[in-house]
Symmetry: C2
Subunit: 795 residues, 2 copies
């Protein structure tokens, strides 16, 4: 059950700069791909397999750390039906990096198609293409790999110690980061704003703690899957479940050593990404198998491989300290952390900086210090994951806020209302940590956080639900927690989107966009924006999306940028088309263009609605009749800001003090995502994000044995919540109007991922008085904490 505080119309506090009345934007129109998805007709990557397609499979490392002394493929090659075998000895050694190419997006600079070393259990060793799955499996078994096992390191802090096994000792990897391979240091980010010592000294109370988040998975319904083949002209087609088709094109071109023009990347329907499909995990190998064989090749990660060999949430160990005065003023935040990126760098730098900039800037505080390190370990590889560092950082900071408020006897709601950043303000930490590209202004233009806190608390029943734990009879205690959140919308001056729109005979339009709908509804959002701008129904927008041959460039679906940037590009392209259409309409109606108003699929003369021309008549005139032309609009969009959405989450839990089981019984997420282009989709994104992180907070966790092997890479032993096990998430959309966003929109998809870890921890504390600083909050950890508390009370 989700409820909306209202779109713009019903807003409790209409923004002064609210947009004009909208027809399509702000309305819960059905997903444009809803019917095809619901009927099973939608085509995912593996739904269109060409004839004579080979099966590609990976041989993965059984060792956490080893040198590959030799690979003997002779027996495998003899197996009838084996068509190609790839390994480090027969492919180019070109890093998956973009360093030095003018594009700073953190594609892994230390990853090769195959290497002569394996760095974690699940690392790529070789690949086979064969006529059938069975032959491929058999061939994998026939490849003889001689390993020289090396000592491995798994712990954050151990990895940094002198004498630790060095995971990346290769001299030839291109680096643009200040990392030190001799210490397994993959990245380092520091910022020092104000005077932290002075701030701590000024505080009446200082709260502090060590916090730790864990390994968990994106777990998309559709694992990584790639189909590659040669088109009739010999160009390489990569049909793949990716969030970044254009980056895929570029990186594969570079890795395989073929020109960009020889590659076409098609993104079909996607069964979820959540950040996990932002890297090139299969495409390079699959493409190479196609080049070697001339045949189509399909590769899929199975579920176990999806756990071990794709990407995960970066675990983080954090030491955080906050100084507050008795009046609630925050005087200092000191934040140290080590991010575990596993065996490869992946997004290790930018996730790290995001920990600081998306969390530490949330509160007004003049003295802030951030010291973050990213380390290599011989474990699975962290990557982009919805929330992107803010999830980890808020797990600590969200609890610290609760602790600080409690320490001075203030309601956390009051504490948050007092301290949160406001519209018109900025925080020096933004610039200090990576949003600092020239020209970027990180002043907050829209902020509905106060409203989120108030409306959320009211809907949740904060006053009534909080602080009841101690007084409840029986073993089951209830408690309430809350947290405030902030994210961004795009990476300023880096992300880019473009759109082209053309007008058809009947007044419908084709929209060409490189935006990548992962299942989020982005295509619907784009169609709504174009329909709104052109005054046409959504059904009149025909989408060609995310095909590098037929879509304009787009950096892809990440950094909460799709609605904000790709949507803005679509809006501008539609405006461009509309103005071109207006010229034709003016000519047809024999008036000057500025005298024309826009009606539903028509122009009419201002004040004279009977003097009108329909889009259809206009299109036919343009295409068939007078001064013939194909009416087109196109535009690009970049951002100079990354306007944060804000949210306040409220959570009630039940803690069974006998079993340690925690159940979330109520969850309210109040979100300011600017104007929600589609409230239903915004609610869906919020619900999905919250449920994702409730699972992470309570259940989901990679378990490793002492050799770094994941013990539970199946949905039997790595449990996801199923319907019925989860609370109904109530979403309140608190509309603001973001002046830089299309129709006032900001992002919505990531922010709510960051709430459950701290909100649940705070609620547990409220219920039973124990603070869980290590996630997930499993029954074992809860019981342990209760036991420790009991002991402390009785000692």
């Amino acid at each position: 059950m989700t409820k909306t505080a209202g779109t713009k119309k019903t807003s409790a506090r209409p923004e002064p700069n609210a947009a004009r009345e909208t027809r399509v934007v702000g309305k819960p129109v059905p997903k444009v791909d809803g019917l095809s998805l619901a009927t099973g007709r939608a085509k995912f990557t593996a739904d269109e397999i060409p004839p004579h397609c080979l099966v590609g499979m990976l041989l993965l490392s059984p060792h956490a750390h080893a040198k590959i002394k030799s690979i003997d493929t002779s027996e495998a090659e003899k197996l009838p039906g084996v068509r190609a075998i790839l390994h480090h000895g027969n492919v180019p050694r070109i890093a998956h990096t973009t360093a030095g190419q003018g594009f700073p997006e953190p594609s892994p600079w230390d990853t090769f198609m195959f290497d002569n070393k394996v760095r974690y259990v699940g690392d790529r060793v070789a690949a086979v293409a064969a006529e059938t799955r069975d032959i491929a499996l058999q061939a994998l078994k026939l490849i003889r790999v001689e390993y020289e096992p090396l000592p491995a390191v798994f712990d954050f802090e151990e990895a940094l110690k002198p004498g630790a096994p060095i995971i990346h000792d290769e001299p030839d990897i291109t680096s643009f980061l200040p990392f030190d391979p001799k210490r397994n240091l993959a990245a380092w980010a520091k910022a020092d704003v104000g005077d932290i010592e002075k701030g701590l000294a000024e505080a009446d109370v200082v709260v502090e703690g060590e916090f730790e988040t864990h390994y968990y998975a994106h777990a998309p319904i559709e694992p990584h899957v790639t189909l590659t083949y040669l088109d009739p002209d010999g160009r390489l087609v990569i049909r793949t479940s990716t969030q970044v088709p254009f980056h895929c094109r570029r990186i594969v071109a570079q890795t395989l050593g073929i020109p960009v023009r020889q590659i076409r990347v098609i993104k079909p329907r996607l069964g979820g990404g959540f950040g996990g499909k932002q890297e090139i995990l299969l495409e390079d190998v699959c493409a190479m198998l196609t080049l070697r064989t001339g045949r189509p090749v399909l590769m899929e990660l199975n579920r176990a491989q999806e756990f071990t060999s794709s990407r995960t949430r970066h675990p983080m160990r954090m030491w955080a300290k906050m100084g507050v005065k008795k009046n609630g003023e925050v005087t200092a935040i000191d934040f140290r952390g080590i991010l575990n990126t596993g065996a490869y760098g992946s997004h290790g730098l930018t996730v790290l900086t995001n920990v600081g900039s998306k969390c530490l800037g949330l509160l007004r505080c003049p003295n802030v210090r951030f010291d973050g390190k990213t380390v290599y370990t011989n474990l699975p590889v962290g990557g982009a994951y919805r929330g992107y560092g803010a999830t980890q950082g808020m797990m600590a900071l969200g609890q610290l806020i609760d602790e600080a408020a409690r320490a001075i006897g203030m309601d956390p709601v009051e504490f948050c209302l007092r301290n949160h950043i406001r519209a018109g303000e900025t925080h020096p930490i933004f610039r200090a940590l990576g949003e600092g590209r020239e020209g970027v202004d990180m002043t907050i233009a829209s902020c509905g956080l106060a409203e989120c806190i108030r409306l959320g608390a009211e809907r949740f029943g904060w006053k009534q639900r909080r602080g009841k734990g101690a007084s409840m009879p029986g073993p089951i205690k209830r408690g309430a927690g809350m947290v405030i959140l902030m994210q961004g919308s795009s990476i300023p001056e880096i992300d880019m989107a473009a759109a082209i729109v053309k007008l058809n005979d009947d007044g419908s339009v084709n929209l060409y966009s490189g935006a990548t709908d992962l299942g989020t509804g982005a295509d619907t959002i784009l169609a709504q924006i174009v329909a709104e701008t052109l005054h046409i129904p959504v059904s009149d927008v025909i989408l060609t999306v995310a095909d590098t041959d037929n879509s304009p460039f787009d950096t892809g679906a990440y950094a909460s940028s799709t609605t904000y940037l790709s949507g803005e590009a679509a809006r501008r392209a539609a405006v461009d088309l509309l103005e071109n259409m207006r010229q034709v309409a003016a000519e047809a109606l024999d008036v000057s263009p500025e005298k024309l108003d826009v009606g539903e699929k028509c122009f009419y003369v201002h004040g004279n609605p009977r003097k009108t021309i329909s889009y259809e008549a206009l299109a036919r005139r343009a295409l068939y009749s007078r001064n013939q032309q194909q009416l087109v609009g196109h535009a690009s969009a970049i951002s100079h800001v990354s306007p944060p959405p804000f949210a306040a989450h409220f959570c009630e839990v039940e803690v069974d003090t006998e079993t340690g089981v925690v159940r979330v019984v109520k969850y309210v997420a109040a979100v300011d995502c600017g104007v929600p282009i589609n409230p239903k989709l915004a609610e869906g994104q919020t619900e999905g994000a919250v449920l994702n992180s409730i699972g992470a907070a309570l259940m989901e966790e990679y378990l490793f044995n002492d050799d770094g092997r994941m013990l539970n890479p199946t949905f039997n032993y790595y449990k996801l919540f199923t319907p019925g096990e989860t609370p109904l998430v109530e979403t309140i959309l608190v509309p603001t109007h973001e002046p830089t966003g299309p129709y006032g929109a900001k992002s919505v998809s990531e922010i709510s991922t960051n709430g459950p870890l701290p909100a649940i921890a705070n609620a547990i504390y409220d219920a039973v008085g124990v603070r869980l600083r290590k996630a997930p909050y499993t029954p074992e950890r809860v019981l342990e904490a209760l036991e420790a508390k009991r002991k402390a009370e009785h000692s």
Copy 2:
């Protein structure tokens, strides 16, 4: 063996307005689809059949003229595997017309998906979709049709007589033509320029004759074939062998009563069109079968159906008269003709007007009269066919010129040189016959005809080869004939083309064009033009062509418009992109844009070639780095003129006076197509056109029985020349520079179709002194003419 008088470089007479030195244009670069075609990898319509595709088949009329009293499909429906049956009783009756919709292209205004009457043997009666071909065939046999046969009419002149059976008596067909169904008159075109009677009176000699051309076929290697299916969103996809994808979309939308936005038309590789694939012959029925069944449906005409039930060359009976003075001056041309359009109007009006405007304007002559009628008969339907009326008209006029020259004792070469229209001139007949849309200026801007005549005569050895027939010993006589020709390049103010170009990371571009390559090489021409304009290799142009969803609008491949208009649109779009690129280059190099010169894939500062930026660097800057944007260019092109290409054809024949067999032994075609964008393709077009019409002149002919049934609808009995039976056609490209065409180009594909019929007839006359006024010039007709001549000489 084809030879080129030279591209621009080697031109005997360089045009004063010759374009700049070109790198790619004017060069015989290989076809961009050559490799895929040669290796069999290219995908034609039927090369990608989706699973569960049904087979669609047509039931065709066995009667030349009949009412359908009833259709009983009950037995057929009971047959397992039959999925749908269509006939006039269960489909909408909406004409395939565009009348009244602002688009005058002559789509047939009298054709329905199915009608309650059949008008020729081969007319559509019903269609079946079934699981297999066998079931479909069986179902066709089970459909019981009760016909009421009606008297039929087959002859041109009989059809016009009072009391003739009326073929179109339906009251509800929309007409925008001055036709009179009561007389089977489908169209009528008249023009009267100067004073014809005065002109004839001034003449020293008047020559005249009745001429007749015949039914013959386009005979593309790939017959009409259409595949329709619903995409995952329920939109109708029509994959079809068509010359007019956008018209197909519009007409099917209208015929089926669904919106244009619900339809996507894809033109794959095509196995030839020659004008025959310019109408909707299968697409409407196939699409309706898909809508009825929800299933993919494939329909193909078999070879017999391709002969009888697609489109043919309109036969024409002509009465022409020419007055000349002894000095060679032409004082009058009087031209009457009746065009037989068969059972449906098809292109009957525009082919008719083209007879006049493309032939009668070729000679300087102040007094010209044209009186043309198009009649319905109960025979197969004439349609667009390469040459489009000019072929028929020149069969008569080309012979009349020869007769007139002979009558005054002048060499036809001299006669043509004296009388042909020149650059800077126009002819009132152009405007009088349909090129007369407002704003159209039909002044000839470029004319290399004199050069064509001189170079052609020289290469051919005109002086040596002519007039030898009488003096040759034995039964085999040789003779030489020539003819001059003119065609157009596009329909002014009607045809339209557009193009969009986008720049990729590596400096390559995607070109989006609706131009329709039928096998002609149009895609290569477009790629060359874009490559030339942008200073990139042809391989850097990635084409998305002729897909109504992904290409901008284009009226299609007809009227010799593709190079001229679609090429010009591509050129302009490339210029637009180049100028946008220049801005970025200027910013990067910190100079003003006008200081930049363009080099191979780079800009450099004028006079300082070391200060340079490659397209790749520029693209990466634009996409990834500074003021990010997708660089795009787009443009539309229409024509205000239809610049004629010109040609002079020279032909030597051997006539076996004992058997009547005529063999072409030498053929030289000298063609002014402006600057040939690709000389190899221009030569190929010329050779193909000449061979096509040599076949038509000597062998190809529909034979009908008395009931209007075609007797020879197979390649066994309708003989096409095969390699070894045809002479080598020598092509001379005589370059001029057409100022309105892209890089100086005019059209080339149609004009040479018009040469062989008159040139061969003239050569036969030269060899044996008989004039064949009825085509084809079969052994029977030759012998008959020789016998008549003998009789006349001995009487």
